[in-house]
Assembly symmetry: C2
Homo-oligomer: 432 residues x 2
């Protein structure tokens, strides 16, 4: 008993099932690594889970559907939470930490919303809380921010951190298909959920960048303070023009700090085609971090999927086992400063604008006047297509840096001009 | 005193000087991170170092040229070794660990040659030994292999891990210049040392892959067991043909495990132009790791330079401070299996061969006969250039996989054929 650490797993979904399998199959090797026998002792499941074929691979008394049966089992020293969603996951994690158990979770929503509180709770009760799998699946991101790059002042993070949207954007870019078809495709392949809102609207990415920014900047960046804008408005024309201009369009999660302020935002962005992130395709994820000492480092890998995620979860179980053996625990996050998160209206970037205008003289001058009045200067204008029948033309404007506030105001004014038929799209340009 | 951990630094070269500066400039922030005041207490230097302008930035009593003065100072709890080379660095590190001091080093040669022994020594004396900076400068590589990817069976590592050679190869590939000019350029820019042998011949990369393979495969991979072949024989023609065939040429450090054997080798290799590593240019480094759970993960960044290296060194100092506060230390490496390192003659890869042959009928048939006799099958042959005056032609052969032994024997036989004027180059093709 002294030579064994018992693990309790909550959840037997796609990730939970994979983790259970690996814990079983690799038990010997993992125990050798940990210097202590790691034993999967109990799995808390829903009644419906018991019908799954996977269940037959385990002894029946491993499973329980009863909360008390699981949480009152004092022999469990490590709890793995893999049910996802805010509740009851948050309650389960809190309860485990309060009981002094080490916790491993892949739950980005809980960590983004309650991470600081839970880490303090862990510290207070001599427990550890690890959540490497909450960002970037199996790619090491949390530990590098916490430990390996700790000596740095982190200036910025640019991340492609949602596989569903990156798959869709890759299809739109490479195959020229439109959003709806790419989404349908992603669903067919299991890359998008039946209700893909959290992915498509950038909410999932907002959770992840909130977690990363909090660690990187040592200030609380709450997910509701992260501006997020989805990819559903992107049109195949935007991809075509991006390509002509030397850019790719990616859903970027961005965090920056300078002076005493912080930016944290998720939105589609033009990025230069020769940048590392522009080459990250399909369901791959990539996180580019810039530190004052290290310069730019980039981490690339599969950001989702049960196998890749189990890599992070089980490596974290090994960390817990070590903490158990040594009697140590994770520390609370050091909040060294309290930095203000900039509202998106203050954020300064270049912009791409695609407009349908009347094909007549003086239109460009009128547009330039409006932009100029809002101190937005034009870097280039390209007249893309003219429809002689309707006498409209499509133009693409690339601006110099301007604030979100200035752009919003200018767009509002432009849309009231008779000469402007439609504001087709407005997308930020991100130089890394 | 209780609330302070004293650091002793050995070496005030380019890296040592930078580390001293950062420790001084960031003292407040680092101490806040560590939860204990981190104080640079003593710097052991050579007498000649005392002439450096940097010295004036520190109080004079910080410096000592006396070994005993440094090693007998019991108040030093963390020793940073940054002199490089095997001796006396190895002796210094041993002495510090035996005295129970935590050690941080960037010394790839010492760690490659003595890492296992030094980690055991550390463990035995309750000390920690960290060496993140020994591989890939500031890019996290050691910690991911030790911790973040620990749940994986690591199948392979493919790494561009020497900035000097990657700079030279990038210039040769992009600008079509020859090796000597690219090397001269690298020297001018400070990317290559006056005597660049360790870099050019792949010895530096061999140390680094030995360190990574030992951690990844949990078996001792000694640097003298790592085959290494340098880049000086590469010709601008090889780059031209590689480009035409859809490849780049990179100096790769490769480690693989399968069944119960291990491969570890450093040599120039053809890699597909669309692979991530093919896009790593200039002094950047990249390490691609394939695990059974995580799939492929890639770490990219500046693999050298004082600032990037100081990121790893000082992050390791923070780890030591934590170990000091908690009273913990690094564990000895778990050697779970003893795997045999394959001699290069057993290693199976595809090959690129460039030959000058007599431009007459029957030559190709003769070459194919020799290769066939050694069970080497040809994937493609391209006749590249014909010199009508000397009646010679250059041909490029791409083979299917063959062992080093078979290729060596076939090359020997080919070189004796009258029809073959010269074996210009033979380069492995590495599919990742």
């Amino acid at each position: 008993m002294e030579n064994e650490v018992r693990v309790g797993l909550i959840g037997l979904g796609v990730i939970g099932g994979q983790v259970a399998k690996v814990l079983q199959e690799k038990a010997g090797e993992l125990s050798l690594q940990a210097g202590i026998s790691i034993k999967l002792h109990k799995i808390k499941v829903l009644t419906s889970d018991l019908e799954k074929p996977l269940v037959k691979q385990f002894p029946p008394d491993l499973f329980t559907t009863n909360d008390e049966d699981f949480f009152n089992d004092e022999s469990i020293r490590i709890v793995i939470e893999l049910i996802g969603g805010e509740r009851p996951a948050y309650d389960y994690i809190s309860a485990a930490l309060k009981a002094g158990k080490h916790v491993v979770t892949a739950n980005k929503e809980v960590i983004a919303k309650h991470g600081l509180e839970l880490r303090s709770l862990a510290h207070e009760h001599g427990a550890s809380l690890y959540y490497e799998a909450s960002v970037g699946g199996g790619i090491p991101i949390i530990a590098p921010l916490e430990k390996d790059l700790r000596a740095n002042y982190i200036k910025s993070i640019h991340a492609i951190i949602n596989g569903t949207t990156n798959y869709i954007l890759t299809r739109m870019s490479k195959d020229g298909i439109d959003f709806d078809r790419a989404l349908a495709n992603a669903k067919q392949l299991g890359y998008a959920e039946a209700n893909p809102k959290n992915d498509i609207e950038g909410i999932d990415a907002a959770y992840k960048i909130a977690i990363m920014a909090t660690l990187a900047f040592q200030t609380e960046v709450r997910p509701d303070g992260v501006y997020h804008e989805g990819i559903s408005k992107l049109d195949s024309r935007d991809f075509r023009y991006a390509g002509e201009l030397g850019y790719e369009i990616k859903l970027l999660a961005i965090a920056k700090q300078y002076d005493n302020t912080v930016e944290a935002r998720v939105h589609p962005a033009f990025i230069r085609r020769d940048s590392v992130l522009a080459g990250i395709n399909g369901v791959f994820n990539a996180v580019s971090i810039e530190g004052d000492l290290v310069g730019q480092v980039v981490f690339i890998g599969q950001g989702a999927g049960p196998l890749a995620t189990s890599s992070a979860v089980i490596s974290d179980v090994l960390r817990c086992s070590r903490d158990y053996v040594l009697g140590t625990n994770t520390s609370a996050i050091k909040i060294s400063t309290s930095k203000t998160v900039q509202p998106i209206t203050n954020v300064n970037t270049r912009y791409y604008m695609r407009l349908s205008i009347l094909d007549s003289t003086g239109v460009l001058a009128a547009i330039a006047r409006v932009l100029g009045a809002h101190k937005i200067s034009i870097a280039s204008v390209i007249q893309k297509e003219t429809d002689t029948l309707s006498q409209t033309a499509e133009i693409v404007i690339m601006t110099h840096p301007a604030t979100g506030r200035a752009i919003d105001a200018a767009i509002k004014e432009l849309s009231m001009l008779d000469l402007v038929k439609e504001i087709n799209n407005v997308i930020r340009v991100e130089e890394q």
